[in-house]
């Protein structure tokens, strides 16, 4: 493999500037044509508690962390210790600690890593306005081969407004860090690459989701804040009014889902974003959207459950409620992006599908992807713009007409002659309430038909790897990145591997799935849930070929590529 990666983590207390360090690294990395993936972790304190930034830089895009970190920079031991489980170290890992921080802490005593001193605070103290985190940044830059110029540009971009003195103090701190770090010949270094300006984006999953919605045509959002979905909304609150749309903060999730149903009934593509507890409050009205055939999109950024669970950390355990949480027979769409960049494409596609099929679409992302920040290739334009079938003529118009493909033309308020009443009560084709078995059957058939019979094309899944595999990895969402990496490692060991990650979770597409899995004698289903929700969903809806095994692990720790590799190589 020609691509190179380096993994590093920075941990410290609230004031230590950990996140600033991470952001500067990402910005600088983008400027030298690298790619990056960064997640963050924080303690339970609302503000001022400990924080860690976990960063992977590479010559190619990465959608997952490695099994361990090449470098851990600890501003103090206590803060770093809080994240011990999240910061696995390997035999070649380097830990840079401030000698002022005292004794090596218990969690590092048995760690295989190499411990080195970096007098961050002492060096910073020597510089007027100097900062320890900038010293650390300099040390990191030196180790990984990041030149001065992009770092300076990043610093200027971030704090230029504070004046030249602040910039200079930072630069001096950087340089002090560079000189203080010993030469470690075997440390992984990356080569700068020529990068055309603007061809790299620095974007978070939640921002990409918001942008995808806008690109898909969403012009109305109503929502109630909830971690970790709020950034989707914050970005849209900034973006929507600029493109002629609006965002409303609602009194609760019951209001937000019904506001978007009302707005969409009015012809305006609409969306809300929430997380597990909020989604639970929305399912009644999602059923209304399905029955009354009003397109809506709900982005659910998953966090640890059940109940309030672990609000700031990631898990993939809302698959059940997303697929099955509506009462009655209520077929709808469930989609899941598999990376930060894919949040854009999948959300845009979700809007397109919801509008085309006049139904509810749930987009499942998670805290790991939503709050991750990545340096990615500038995304291409996509042709998915929400489009509703409207009546060509209103003569004898019937809102819920029994069409062949199940999609009934939808009159938009303001359209003379199209007046009808949208209804969550079962109805006849005209929309008049009906409790007749025949009407019920006809409308149930129609609502299923339009979704099950639609041609979703190639986008339904990411499929990659070998044609005649020894094993197929079947996964979804943020486990796709680790699976992709596991696949690469397995192939490097001589295995033939296929990766299948459906972007469209519901409806199930038995034909394409059978084709995607054809010839795989072994199938490993990989997911981040305690209850193996994805495996059970697959069993319910697909005939899975070959020997099926499950790797399911709850949050908040990510599923690591090495764990997947081990499960495949120790098949049982």
């Amino acid at each position: 493999m020609l691509e190179r990666f380096v993994s590093l983590a920075v941990a410290g207390s609230g004031g230590a500037g950990v996140v600033t360090t991470g952001n500067l690294l990402l910005d600088a990395a983008a400027r030298v044509g690298w790619y990056a993936y960064m997640t963050r972790s924080a303690g339970p304190q609302i503000r001022g508690g400990e924080a860690a930034a976990m960063i992977r830089l590479g010559s190619a895009p990465a959608d997952a962390h490695d099994d361990h970190y090449d470098l851990l920079v600890a501003a103090d031991w206590e803060s770093a210790g809080r994240f011990a489980a999240e910061l696995p170290l390997g035999a070649t890992s380097i830990v840079l600690g401030d000698p002022r921080a005292g004794e090596r802490p218990p969690f590092l005593v048995d760690a295989p890593a190499r411990m080195l001193d970096l007098p961050m605070t002492a060096l910073a103290d020597e510089i007027p306005g100097g900062r320890a985190n900038m010293v650390a940044l300099g040390a990191i830059a030196e180790l990984i081969g990041l030149p001065d110029e992009p770092l300076l540009a990043a610093i200027r971009h971030a704090i230029g407004a504070k004046g030249e003195a602040a910039v200079e103090a930072s630069v001096a701190s950087l340089r002090a860090g560079r000189s203080a770090v010993p030469d470690i010949p075997d440390f992984p270094r990356l080569e700068p690459r020529p990068a055309a300006p603007g061809m790299r984006w620095n974007i978070s999953g939640n921002e990409a989701t918001g942008l995808g919605a806008l690109r898909g045509g969403v012009r109305f959002v109503a929502a109630y804040p909830i971690t970790p979905a709020t950034e989707v909304l914050e970005w849209m609150a900034h973006g929507l009014p600029r493109v002629g749309g609006a965002l409303v903060q609602a009194e609760d999730e019951l209001a937000s889902i019904n506001q978007i149903v009302g707005a969409s009934y009015g012809g305006v593509p609409s969306l809300t974003a929430t997380s597990g507890p909020g989604l639970a409050l929305m399912t009644e009205s999602l059923g209304l959207a399905v029955a009354a055939e009003v397109p809506v999109v709900v982005v659910n950024v998953m966090r640890g459950g059940p109940s309030t669970g672990i609000p700031t950390k990631s898990e993939q355990a809302d698959l059940n409620i997303a697929c099955y949480g509506l009462h009655g027979d209520a077929p709808h769409l469930v989609l899941a992006p598999h990376s930060v960049a894919d949040c854009l494409m999948t959300t845009q596609w979700a809007v397109h599908l919801a509008e085309s099929l006049q139904t509810a679409a749930i987009v499942l992302t998670d805290q790991a992807t939503g709050q991750a920040r990545a340096v990615i290739e500038r995304p291409a334009e996509l042709a998915f713009i929400g489009q509703r079938v409207v009546p060509e003529s209103v003569a004898g118009y019937e809102r819920y007409a029994l069409t062949v493909n199940g999609v009934s033309p939808m009159a938009i308020p303001g359209m003379a002659g199209g007046e009808y009443t949208a209804d969550g009560l079962e109805h006849s084709p005209s929309g008049t309430p009906s409790s007749q078995a025949a009407d019920h059957q006809a409308q149930l058939d129609k609502r299923l038909r339009k979704i099950a019979g639609y041609n979703y094309g190639e986008h339904w899944a990411e499929i990659d790897g070998d044609a005649d595999p020894d094993v197929a990895l079947l996964t979804w969402g943020s486990c796709t990145g680790p699976c992709r990496e596991a696949m690469a490692r397995l192939r490097a060991q001589g295995w033939r591997v296929r990766l299948v990650a459906p972007r469209l979770i519901a409806p199930a597409l038995p034909g394409p799935m059978a084709e995607a899995l054809a010839g795989a004698p072994r199938l490993l289903v990989v997911e981040q849930s305690h209850g193996a929700q994805f495996l059970r969903y697959l069993r319910a809806h697909y005939d899975l070929p070959g020997e099926v095994r499950s790797l399911h692990q709850p949050g908040p720790l990510p599923v690591r590529p090495g764990t997947i590799v081990a499960r495949v190589t120790n098949w049982s």
Partner: protein
């Protein structure tokens, strides 16, 4: 009056659909429907520019009985649905219809916040102090002693909820009471409410003849309010304090707070302009 309307355009009957109401004979909601169609004719609105939005309940069936755009949503959520519609489609005239259960029990939070948010729409609550649709349970406006429900055989034992007082406290800017016994009068209030910029609440005494047969007597008890509206909340509050609930036909309070309209650029930019923020 009808003659004049006919000259201008549509008559009340043009705002009625062909769907036969499921209501019990004698139900007050028939008159409310009549008042709404009269008001729409009076307002000379094109059918396609009006939407009637509701939740669930006997009273919430109204949308299907009109010939304008209608939305029959889920129980208690008429106001948010209507809010979304109006904010996304400010050109539409939006009426919201429902009952005391839909609006003040399960929908109470949205009622509070609709009064506060002040989106330009007209909320007509048919108050019969009972859940008609589910066969007669106590609602928030039911007397504490009413023992006609098997669910609360000794009465709900809770003081009734004063909807107009709450509306005033929550910041509603147009507060009125009508009665199904006088649909012409009610039509006038609705017209007034629709013309008022912002959120208008009209409580309508509308008897449930099946589960509260004693409400048939209401037509004897109601009286046209003798004073016209005030724009002073303190005075309105005093009036509501002494009100016995049977004064109708007049607007009680009208304020001047501007209607809520979300921020939105008049000259929309293109999406790539927004995207430039992500480029490094």
């Amino acid at each position: 009056m009808e003659h004049l309307q006919a000259m201008r355009g549509l008559a009340p009957k043009d705002f009625k659909s062909d769907t036969k109401p499921v209501w019990c004979p004698g139900c007050g909601h028939f008159s409310v429907l009549a008042a709404i169609t009269k008001a729409l004719a009076e307002l000379s609105l094109p059918r396609e520019q009006v939407a009637v939005v509701s939740g669930i309940g006997c009273s919430s069936r109204i949308p299907a009985y009109t010939s304008v755009y209608g939305f029959h949503g889920v129980h208690g959520r008429a106001l948010p649905t209507a809010t979304g519609l109006k904010l996304a489609r400010p050109d539409m005239t939006v009426l919201v219809t429902g009952g005391d259960g839909d609006g003040f029990s399960i929908g109470g939070n949205h009622f509070l916040h609709a009064c506060r948010r002040n989106v330009d729409m007209t909320y007509i609550v048919m108050d019969n102090q009972v859940y008609g649709m589910t066969k007669g349970q106590a609602s928030p406006t039911t007397d504490a002693e009413w023992d006609g429900s098997k669910l609360t055989p000794d009465g709900p034992c809770i003081e009734p909820f004063p909807p107009l007082k709450i509306a005033l406290a929550a910041g509603a800017n147009f507060i009125a009471r009508g009665s199904s016994s006088d649909p012409n009068d009610l039509a006038r209030l609705i017209v007034d409410g629709v013309r008022h910029p912002g959120f208008s609440v009209i409580q309508v005494l509308s008897p449930c003849v099946t589960f509260r047969p004693e409400q048939k007597e209401w037509k004897k008890k109601v009286r046209t309010a003798c004073v016209d509206y005030t724009d002073d909340p303190a005075r309105a509050a005093r009036r509501l304090m002494t009100d016995d609930g049977f004064n109708f036909g007049k607007v009680l309070f009208k304020g001047t707070r501007p209607a809520f309209v979300p921020e939105c650029s008049d000259v929309p930019c293109a999406i790539p302009e927004l995207e430039s923020g992500f480029a490094v």
